[in-house]
């Protein structure tokens, strides 16, 4: 085999050799790598040797002692995911105080806070927590007044959380935030009646708007009528006021006033086109017309 061939062998063999060495070191429990938010629990012959929660490189011989040599060959390494998890339980059936059939969607978060308790105290911690949350929801939130059930969601969440936290902590499964994600009516007829109620309310509002509009129009009209009446009355009073004022001023000089009216009368008499008969002034007219008078 020449040099080139040995280089190729080196190229091919190296990754295998590296992997094999590392695998061997892991198998003899020399080291382990713990990822973030993960816990490794080491069990040998039914006994827990230790739990490593710190992420990074762990030298098991120092961490759990010489038994680490056997733990990967004859024991078990449990990997526990400690990241924040969540679950949503849809439409948990409850009844309000008034007897309305309601559904509550409850969403909760949980995380492992004690890997050993999580592994060995409960066969199905997630399932048990689900059942507890469901049960606590129905038990704590039934028979609430309907208005409170729809509005006081934070208090409802806290009630459920307080109810389930203690038990889940025993299984190493801490309950995080709990939210009432949905509150809904389960009875179709009730939904229809509520819609009808809202529609009637809206119709009332519509009538009120119309009535208010009519009132506004009437107020505008009557206000305008009143203001117009005042102005028209003022218009009617203008002639007497102006003419009277002028005549009062003219009448200051009686001679002028008399002469003016005499002149105007004469002008009108002349412009009128009537048949004019003149008679002497200051004397009774009929005796003058008599042919003879008794002496």
């Amino acid at each position: 085999m020449n040099f080139a061939e040995s280089v190729v062998v080196g190229l091919i063999a190296t990754p295998f050799i590296i992997s094999a060495v590392l695998w061997f070191l892991r198998i003899i429990g020399f080291y382990d790598i713990v990822p973030e938010r993960t816990a490794h629990a080491y069990v040998l012959f039914g006994n827990v040797l230790g739990v490593v929660r710190e992420p990074g490189l762990t030298l098991l011989w120092f961490a759990i002692g010489p038994q680490a040599l056997l733990v990967r060959l004859f024991g078990t390494r449990h990997v526990v995911d400690m990241r924040l998890d969540q679950e949503y339980l849809r439409s948990q059936p409850v009844n309000s105080e008034e007897g309305a059939p309601m559904g509550i969607g409850i969403w909760y978060e949980m995380f492992v806070n004690d890997p050993l308790a999580f592994l060995f105290k409960n066969a199905d911690p997630k399932g048990s927590l689900r059942a507890n949350v469901s049960n606590a929801t129905v038990r704590c939130l039934s028979n609430m007044p309907l208005v409170n059930m729809l509005v006081t969601r934070h208090e409802m969440s806290m009630a459920v959380r307080d109810e389930v936290s203690a038990k889940s902590n025993e299984w190493g499964y801490a309950t995080g935030s709990v939210y009432i994600r949905k509150v809904h009516f389960r009875d179709g007829e009730m939904i229809r009646q509520i819609e009808e109620k809202v529609v009637n309310r809206l119709r009332q509002v519509t009538s009120a708007i119309r009535q208010d509009g009519t009132n506004q129009v009437n107020i505008i009209r009557s206000t305008a009528e009143r203001q117009a009446a005042i102005e028209f009355a003022r218009a009617a009073a203008q002639r007497p006021y102006i003419v009277g004022s002028a005549l009062a001023a003219i009448s200051q000089d009686q001679q002028i006033s008399t002469a003016m009216f005499e002149l105007l009368e004469l002008q009108n008499l002349l412009n009128g086109g009537a048949k004019i008969t003149l008679v002497p002034g200051g004397k009774p007219m009929l005796p003058q017309l008599l042919a003879s008078v008794p002496r």
Partner: protein
């Protein structure tokens, strides 16, 4: 094995191994973080913490959480690699995330695609117990300030964020009451009190803004920063929609009637004001000849005294004699 290596030529094998190590861990050890990406390195499984930093209690939004929540949502601050060219050692691993803004329908349930009418409409119940449908989008991006939570702390950050957002939104809808700012609003609310759908539609913008504020803690909780809540429509049932439309029609009708009445009233007022002007002018026209004649006679009197007035009057009377058809004249016997 050793005999084989010796037989093959240990120098060649070592050279080959060196080439492998150089290529695998040297050349391929370099990595690029794109413009829209950020990266975090883990060294032997442990995320590299930012030197001198503690935990994420200082993350924007964390102050708004209750103390018990702050204790639950506590994450280390990790060293974040900005866009650029970097090197990693073989025992290091790079976790890249895109920090570009993402838009998602707010009705989407990542765990059940059939929920919320196939992820199209989010149902909610209003304060007056009416079932409504919400349509809109949610805009978010991965929070650079809390990448640990997104990458390592939470199993499915987007599912958590959606669940959190929907819970807050439904709670807000169930409790929503229109704010009363002034008298006009108060009157309006008095007319439409108990009709939340109307208030919700009128205050859509403020609902979106409130959601932005209320969900500000999502970055501290799940490593996802809510950019905007974009509720685009609030749909009531068909019958309610029709009743709401009737309100709008009534509003329009009333506005039209009021406008007409106002126009008619304005016309009447203008007409009455003009009547005053017209009557005033007529009266002045009537008075003017009298005033002028009186002034003229006053001037005449001032110039010639009373006899001149008498003479002028007699002069005018002469025309009367000229027009007379009959005259009975007294003569002295």
């Amino acid at each position: 094995m050793i005999a084989l290596l010796t037989q093959l030529g240990s120098k060649g094998v070592l050279f080959g191994a060196a080439i492998y190590l150089f290529v695998r861990y040297g050349v391929f050890g370099f990595f690029i973080v794109d413009q829209s990406q950020r990266a975090v390195k883990t060294r032997l499984g442990k995320a590299i913490r930012r030197p001198g930093s503690g935990v994420s209690r200082g993350t924007p939004g964390s102050a708004a959480m209750r103390p018990d929540e702050q204790a639950r949502y506590t994450y280390p601050i990790v060293d974040v690699y900005q866009p650029g060219f970097y090197f990693k050692w073989p025992w290091e691993k790079v976790h890249k995330v895109s920090v570009a803004t993402v838009t998602i329908n707010m009705a989407v349930d990542p765990e059940d695609p059939r929920a919320n009418r196939g992820g199209q409409v989010l149902e909610a119940v209003t304060k007056d117990q009416l079932n409504i449908g919400l349509v809109g989008q949610l805009r978010f991006r991965i929070a650079e300030s809390n990448l640990y939570a997104y990458l390592f702390g939470v199993k499915r950050p987007v599912v958590h964020t959606m669940g959190y957002f929907v819970s807050i939104l439904r709670q807000h809808i169930a409790n929503f009451q229109a704010p009363i700012h002034d008298g006009s609003d108060a009157q309006d609310n008095a007319g439409a009190s108990g009709v939340s759908i109307n208030d919700l539609r009128k205050h859509l913008r403020s609902i979106n803004e409130t959601m932005d504020q209320d969900c500000a803690t999502s970055a501290a909780r799940y490593g996802i920063e809510l950019d905007a809540s974009l509720i685009t429509s609030i749909d009531p049932p068909a019958e309610v929609e029709s009743a709401l439309a009737a309100i709008n029609t009534a509003h329009n009708h009333v506005s039209s009637e009021v406008s007409l009445a106002q126009a008619s009233a304005d016309q009447k007022l203008v007409q009455s004001k003009r009547a005053v002007e017209i009557e005033t002018l007529n009266a002045h026209a009537e008075v003017e000849p009298l005033v002028q004649l009186a002034n003229q006679l006053t001037e005449l009197k001032r110039a010639g005294g009373a006899p001149s007035i008498e003479a002028y009057t007699r002069n005018v009377r002469l025309s009367l004699y000229a027009r007379a058809k009959e005259a009975i004249v007294e003569v002295q016997p």
